[in-house]
Symmetry: C2
Subunit: 323 residues, 2 copies
C-alpha cells in the first residue's frame, strides 16, 4: 500500500508517454496538446487506491486509470469548445490552437482510445468494468448538459437539490467511479464497491462547495485566482443559489441589481450580502455535512481501517486546502 503521492508518481511515469501515432498530424497534435497541459491526475490515482484498498496493485488498474485520465481530458477538450474557453491552466485551449473541427475530432479519437484501454483488462471483469465506466461517462455528459441548461435560467428558479444533482453528475460521479473501478480490479464485493463509490461522490460534492467558497472568501494570494471570479461573471455557484434561498426580499432585489449592473465594487458588495445572510457559515456546514457522509461510507467498507489511511489522507488533503 502506497501513499497517494507515491501513486501519483507511479501513475505519471506510466502515463507520461506518447499516446498517439504521428499522422494525421493535426489530429494527434491536438489530442496531445490537452495531455501536455497536465493536471493532478487525481482520478486515475483514485482508481489505483481503490485497487490497493482490497489487494496488491494490478497492472489493469494502470490501464483503467489511463482510460479514466484520457476520458477526463476528452471532456475538457469538448467542454472548452462548448464554453468557448480561451485558456485552461493558463495555456491556450485545444480549439484555440487547432480550431473547432480538429478539437472536436481529437476529443472523439481520445474517447475511442479510452475503450482501447478498457478492452485490455482481464475478461472475467471486463463486462463490469465497461458497464460501470459507461454509466459514469453518460452521467458526465448529462451533467454538462444540465449545467448548460442552468446557465440560461434565472438563478432564483434553480432548485437546490437539482443543482446538487447536476454538480454530482458533472464533477463527482467520475471520481466515484474511478474508486469503484479500482475496487473491482481489487476483487471487492458489490457492497464494498458501493460504499467506496458513495465516499467518492460525497468527497466530490464537498470539494466543489469548498471550491466555490474559496473563490469567494479565500485568500486570493494562496488560492491563485482572482477573488470573486465567479461573482464577477454571475456564475451559478452553491453560494449564489443558497443566497437566493436565505436572503430577505430587499437583499434579493439588491443581489439581482448587482448581477444585472455589475458596478465596480460588485464583488465586495455581493460578499457583504453573502455574509449578511450567512451563506459563508452555511457553506462551511454544508461542506462538513458532505464530508461526514463521505467518511461514514468509508467506515462501512469491510477492510482493516489501516488500509483506509491513504484514502483518508487524500480526502483530508483535498478538503482542507486553503489554496
Amino acid at each position: 500500500m502506497q501513499s497517494f503521492q507515491d501513486l501519483i508518481a507511479q501513475f505519471s511515469q506510466h502515463f507520461n508517454q506518447q499516446h498517439f501515432p504521428e499522422q494525421p498530424r493535426k489530429l494527434y497534435d491536438a489530442a496531445s496538446h490537452i495531455l501536455g497541459i497536465g493536471g493532478k491526475r487525481i482520478r486515475p490515482v483514485l482508481c489505483l487506491m481503490g485497487n490497493e484498498l482490497f489487494d496488491a496493485l494490478r497492472p489493469d488498474a494502470l490501464e483503467v486509470g489511463s482510460a479514466i485520465e484520457l476520458f477526463h481530458n476528452f471532456t475538457l477538450v469538448h467542454d472548452d469548445i462548448m464554453d468557448k474557453a480561451p485558456l485552461r491552466r493558463g495555456k491556450p485551449t485545444v480549439h484555440k490552437v487547432y480550431g473547432d473541427p480538429a478539437a472536436i475530432l481529437a476529443g472523439d479519437v481520445m474517447l475511442i482510445n479510452v475503450y482501447e484501454r478498457l478492452n485490455k483488462v482481464q475478461a472475467h471483469y471486463k463486462q463490469k468494468i465497461i458497464s460501470v465506466f459507461n454509466k459514469a461517462a453518460i452521467e458526465v455528459c448529462e451533467g454538462q448538459q444540465l449545467d448548460m441548461d442552468f446557465e440560461s435560467v434565472d438563478p432564483e428558479t434553480v432548485q437546490y437539490d437539482d443543482y446538487v444533482n447536476m454538480i454530482g453528475l458533472k464533477t463527482s460521479v467520475l471520481l466515484a467511479a474511478s474508486l469503484q473501478l479500482g475496487a473491482i480490479i481489487g476483487g471487492a464485493g458489490e457492497g464494498n464497491q458501493q460504499h467506496l463509490y458513495n465516499f467518492g461522490k460525497n468527497v466530490g460534492i464537498a470539494f466543489q462547495i469548498q471550491d466555490d467558497y474559496l473563490d469567494a472568501f479565500g485568500d486570493p494570494e494562496k488560492f491563485g485566482k482572482q477573488q470573486g471570479g465567479d461573482i464577477l461573471v454571475n456564475k451559478k455557484t452553491f453560494l449564489l443559489l443558497k443566497a437566493f434561498e436565505l436572503c430577505n426580499a430587499a437583499q434579493k432585489a439588491e443581489l439581482i441589481r448587482l448581477m444585472e449592473t455589475s458596478p465596480a465594487n460588485k464583488v465586495e458588495r455581493v460578499l457583504e450580502l453573502f455574509r449578511a445572510c450567512k451563506v459563508d457559515e452555511w457553506a462551511e456546514k454544508e461542506k462538513e455535512r458532505f464530508t461526514q457522509l463521505a467518511f461514514q461510507s468509508l467506515d462501512h467498507i469491510a477492510v482493516l481501517s489501516s488500509r483506509k489511511a491513504p484514502l483518508m489522507d487524500l480526502a483530508n488533503y483535498l478538503l482542507n486546502r486553503q489554496q
Copy 2:
C-alpha cells in the same frame, strides 16, 4: 439466409425504437433527431450478412449492428458541425436545430452508447469485436481529418494514392469492419474475415467513384441531386484529381481558371474538359477495377458460393445504380 432487403426490414424493426432516456431533454432530443433523419441502414445490414455468410443469424449481430449504426450517426452529427452543413437528407442538421454545444454532446453520448451495445456481446469474442470496431472507428476519424486537410491544399498537389487512402478511411473501413464483425459473430476464421473485409473495403471505394461519376455525368432527374454539385463547390473528387493528372498544360490552366472564377456555365465547361481528357472513361474503368478486386476477395472466402449470393446481390445493387 435472407436477402439484403429482408435483413434491412429485420434490422429496422429492431433498431427503430426509443434509444435514450427523456432527460436531459435537449441532449437526448438532439441525439434522437439524427436517428429520426433515417438512412438506408446499410452498415448494420452488412454486419447481419457477414454473420449469415457463416452461420445462422445471432442476436449479437443485431446488437453490434445497432452499435455500428449509432456510431455512423455519431460521425454524421460531428461531421456536420465541422463542415457547417445546414441540411442532411433535406432536413436541418442537429447543430442547426439544437446549437453546436448540444450537438457535440449528443454525439459524445451516442459514442458512449455504442460501447454499451458492444459490451453486451458474448464474452468469448468481446475482446476481438471491440478491437476490430475500434480500429475502424479510429480510422474513420483519421479519414475525416485527412479530408479536412485536403480541403485546404491545391488539388494539383494531392497524390492520387493519398486520396484513395483518405476515401478508404473515411467511407470504406466502416463498411468493411461491419462485414468482419458479422463474420466474427458467425464464427469465421481470420482468413475468411480478412477476405470479407477486403471485399467491403473495395466495394466502398468503387461506390465512391460511382458517386462522384454520377454527380458529374448522371441523369440529375434519376440521381436526385443537382448535376455537377461537386463541380460547383470545387469539391475534390476522384474525377477532379484525376483530371489534373490526365490534362495537358492548357487544359489544366483552363480548369484552374474555371475553379477560381466560377462562370455561369462552369459545370458544362468542366464536364467538357473532363470528357476531353477522358476522365469519364477512366472513372468507369477505375470503378470496374475496384469492383473486380472486391469480387476476387469474395471468391476467396471458403464457404459454398450459394451462401455468397445475397452479398453479390447487394454489391450489384449498390454498384449498378443509375440514381
